[in-house]
Symmetry: none
Subunit: 124 residues, 2 copies
């Protein structure tokens, strides 16, 4: 269970944690019932406050990814396959949006991206 954060990222710490946990769930690296690092332990490891880890876990819980039990810890919740599929589609879209934003910054055209995509697609 490895979570890393970047201080220079514009993304808030609690979001970075959320995203990484979600990724691991969607990629099946984390499965139902698996334990997450405790809020305290994670806070210690990342040198941040418990409250920040709590915020991340709390929101993950509200979104149905995990559940927390006082005195015990936090765990991966049961995942509905249909919903998982939807979320995977959503993450693809998110990534495409990021690609587009970054590409426009660098002046890459839609055609450029498509060509690059094709090359990478055929390589793998």
């Amino acid at each position: 269970m490895q979570i890393l954060i970047s201080n220079s990222s514009k993304e808030p710490i609690y979001q970075q944690i959320k995203h990484q946990v979600k990724e691991k769930i969607l990629s099946s690296e984390l499965r139902e019932g698996d334990a997450l690092p405790s809020m305290r332990q994670l806070a210690k490891d990342l040198h941040i406050s418990v409250i920040t880890t709590k915020r991340a876990y709390e929101e993950l819980e509200k979104e149905g990814f995990i559940y927390s039990i006082t005195g015990k810890g936090s765990f991966i919740a049961e995942q509905n396959p249909d919903i998982i599929k939807e979320k995977k589609l959503a993450t693809i879209e998110d990534k495409l949006v990021e690609v587009i934003a970054n590409s426009k910054e660098l002046g890459l055209s839609l055609q450029d991206i498509k060509e690059w995509l094709t090359i990478l697609y055929e390589e793998r």
Copy 2:
């Protein structure tokens, strides 16, 4: 981190701030990742409005000298344009690779991704 302003100068305050920050970057007194005084703190020290410090920092950010993160502060950015460009290209490639992996898993074809990409591209 010392910034001084002169009220008798004809140069606007926000320009004086900008120039001094740039000087310190060019002279290596400020390096990548170093924290600048927060907009509020600097405003307090110089007895000026936050809005003026914001304007200075905002323009420095647009020019690529610094970056600001809500809740954290403002920091010196990576200065070498070539390296920055390389990094951006690398992140685009990373995202595309992820998109491809996720798409294959869900059974999306190259053509599917391209169409999706086109729609998103034109939306933004």
